[in-house]
């Protein structure tokens, strides 16, 4: 186990820059998720850590040692691939023991270690099968077993759950988390699924176009996203954005849309009166306010999920937003109601730069 740090990583493919100076410090034993839309450079970054991809400039340090020019085989890093990459001509036991065999371990020790790992992952009965005789979930587990059998300094996961069906994905996700709690090995986990990142990671790094947009604890990113991109990316269903202008009147402040909707803010934000802004409200941060001064809204679609009810509404006949209620609400398409965004939970971003203003 070891700390892993990326310092000013730059990567060009030919003349095209794909990663523009990324800095990430990962503590020993920490679980960090790299998330972002496809093409953001997260997989490239992971492959650079593994040594499968060279970097143009910067430094990758593992346990204090710069490993830029170290061959993958000498980095003592294990990786779980998206398509598992199990060796089809070897049995599960041979797949698990391959790395140890290459290290020149004696047969008895390899066998003992393979059985230990198989026991952890529930693979004991499958040791003599070949990968093609396994289900997707079992293959996934063998791939993880192959990674943990060596007791590496760091684990890398490259979208390991994307080939599993929804139910299995949740199950294996829990297994990965339990595994990390048990082994406490430094882990870098790449995914485009922010729910995976939220549930698994100690810390999330959000990437976009080869730049770190924000890094922090999952709930910190959820509660105080640094910019509109992170706000929209983290959270499902996604945050609603309503464009408007900032109105400052002494201690009171609000956002007013150009059709006159008044959106409340708890405290005066940064920025000047009249600035063009984005008002952000998460779906669960709307209150039903039928008697009072809430915003006039018309129900478009009602989506009950059981635990909550998501309601797509149109504010003032113009702004489409999604609201989610934990209580059972009796609404039908076409109903009108009044909705009030919770001022204390509102997010405010600069319309041009996307930077957080409150």
């Amino acid at each position: 186990m070891a700390a892993l740090s990326l310092e000013k990583i730059v990567k060009h493919y030919g003349a095209t820059p794909v990663i523009h100076g990324v800095d990430i410090d990962i503590r020993d034993g920490e679980f960090v998720a790299l998330v972002g839309p496809s093409g953001c450079g997260k997989s490239t970054l992971l492959r650079a850590i593994a040594g499968l991809e060279s970097i143009t400039s910067g430094a990758i340090r593992l346990g204090g040692r710069v490993i830029n020019d170290v061959a993958p085989k000498d980095r003592n890093i294990a990786m779980v691939f998206q398509n598992y990459a199990l060796y089809p001509h070897m049995t599960v036991a041979q797949n698990l023991g391959f790395a140890l065999k290459l290290q020149g371990e004696d047969k008895a020790r390899i066998q003992r270690r393979v059985h230990e790992v198989a026991a952890i992952l529930g693979l004991e009965k499958l040791l003599d099968r070949t990968p093609r005789q396994l289900s997707g979930g079992q293959r996934q587990r063998v791939a993880m077993g192959r990674a943990i059998v060596r007791q590496p300094d760091a684990f890398l996961f490259d979208e390991p759950l994307s080939n599993l069906d929804a139910k299995l994905r949740v199950q294996v996700r829990t297994e990965i988390k339990a595994l990390h709690q048990r082994l406490s090995t430094t882990t870098v986990y790449v995914t485009h699924d922010q729910v995976e990142a939220m549930t698994l990671a100690d810390r999330i790094v959000v990437l976009k176009d080869g730049v770190v947009e924000q890094a922090g604890a999952p709930l910190a990113l959820y509660d105080r996203p640094a910019n509109a991109f992170v706000a929209g990316f983290i959270g499902s269903p996604a945050m609603n954005f309503i464009p408007g202008r900032l109105h400052l009147d002494g201690a009171a402040s609000e956002v007013v849309t150009d059709d006159g909707l008044r959106l409340p803010l708890a405290r005066p934000p940064r920025g000047r009166h009249g600035d063009s802004v984005l008002y952000g409200a998460r779906p669960e941060h709307f209150a039903l306010d039928n008697g009072g001064a809430g915003l006039p809204a018309e129900v478009v679609v009602v989506e009950p999920t059981g635990s909550e009810t998501q309601v797509a509404v149109r504010l003032h006949g113009r702004h489409d937003v999604l609201a989610a209620f934990r209580d059972r609400v009796d609404l039908r398409p076409g109903d009108t109601l009044r909705l009030q965004p919770v001022a204390a939970q509102a997010h405010l971003f600069d319309a041009a730069s996307g930077a957080r203003l409150n």
Partner: protein, 301 residues
């Protein structure tokens, strides 16, 4: 379907004495048609097989025919090993051995040089990669006659004329293109992620190739080896020009049975059978690999 059949078949039994005289010929007719329909595929296969196999079977039966009856069309004769025995007495065995040695040597050399080349061309991105691959293929496009005079002169100067090594090198030059082009497709079919996994597991480039990629491309390798062997084995042209006595191969030796004094048909047929034999055995032994190898990459696993 089955339930429908069952419902229709239940009311079928008719009053037996009334129905039997009229229905019997019809029944046997349909029975014959049913038999034909069931076995049509097999019959067609047998017919096709006979057409394809006819020249080979003819050759083989000629080989066992007594010399005196060689021009009689009758298939009724007492088989004799006379033809084969006379081959043993002559020096045909030596030429057969030469053929075996030349084909094996050139196949081995072609794989030794061609397989790593194909791997490099598949996995490494370097400048002019496509051009290099094309140049290699071009060597296979010119007719063999274009190379004979240069080869002949060069071999005389190098002292490689009429040697097994010399002939193996000639076959190497044209088998190399086959190896490189066939093996490229087989290597392409091995997912690069497997090699990456091997690198991370602790393999170097060479180990990943040896332990992961090559075993996975083994069916293709077998198919390629068989093709190389057969091409070298069947060659007549170069062997005729570049050998005299020492390294003479079996196909050329057969020509020696066509003499002014008369054509020794029994010997020709017997030696032809022997030349055919290893190719058939080889192909049958690796036929599953051959089919899998030659269709690899065509279907997703």
């Amino acid at each position: 379907m089955t339930s429908a059949d069952a419902t229709f078949s239940t009311p079928l039994p008719l009053p037996a004495p009334l129905a039997s005289p009229a229905s019997e010929p019809i029944l046997s007719g349909t029975r014959r048609a049913g038999w034909l329909r069931r076995h049509a595929r097999g019959l067609a296969a047998v017919a096709l097989l006979l057409v394809v196999m006819f020249p080979f079977l003819w050759l083989v039966q000629l080989a066992f025919k007594p010399g005196a009856e060689i021009f009689e069309d009758s298939l009724l004769f007492t088989p004799t090993l006379e033809g084969f025995r006379s081959l043993l007495q002559g020096n045909f065995l030596k030429s057969f051995w030469n053929s075996l040695a030349v084909s094996t040597l050139s196949t081995g050399l072609s794989l030794l040089i061609g397989v790593p080349a194909a791997y490099a061309l598949t996995r490494w991105q370097f400048r002019g990669r496509r051009h290099v691959a094309l140049w290699i293929l071009v060597t296979r496009m010119a007719p063999p006659i274009a190379f004979t005079i240069p080869f002949f002169l060069a071999y005389r100067w190098l002292g490689l004329q009429d040697t097994i090594l010399g002939l193996a090198i000639v076959y190497l030059t044209f088998n190399l293109a086959i190896v490189i082009w066939l093996m490229q497709t087989f290597f392409e079919a091995v997912p690069p992620a497997l090699e990456e996994a091997a690198y991370i597991d602790g393999c170097g480039v060479w180990q990943a190739f040896w332990r992961i990629t090559l075993p996975l491309a083994a069916p293709g390798l077998a198919a390629t080896a068989v093709l190389c062997f057969i091409f070298a084995w069947n060659d007549f042209f170069y062997a005729l020009i570049l050998t005299r006595t020492n390294a003479i191969t079996a196909p050329v030796a057969i020509v020696n049975f066509l003499q002014y004094e008369g054509w020794e048909w029994t010997k020709i047929a017997a030696s032809g059978t022997l030349v055919m034999f290893p190719v058939v055995i080889f192909t049958v032994l690796v036929r599953t690999y051959l089919v899998r190898g030659l269709t690899a990459g065509g279907v997703k696993d």
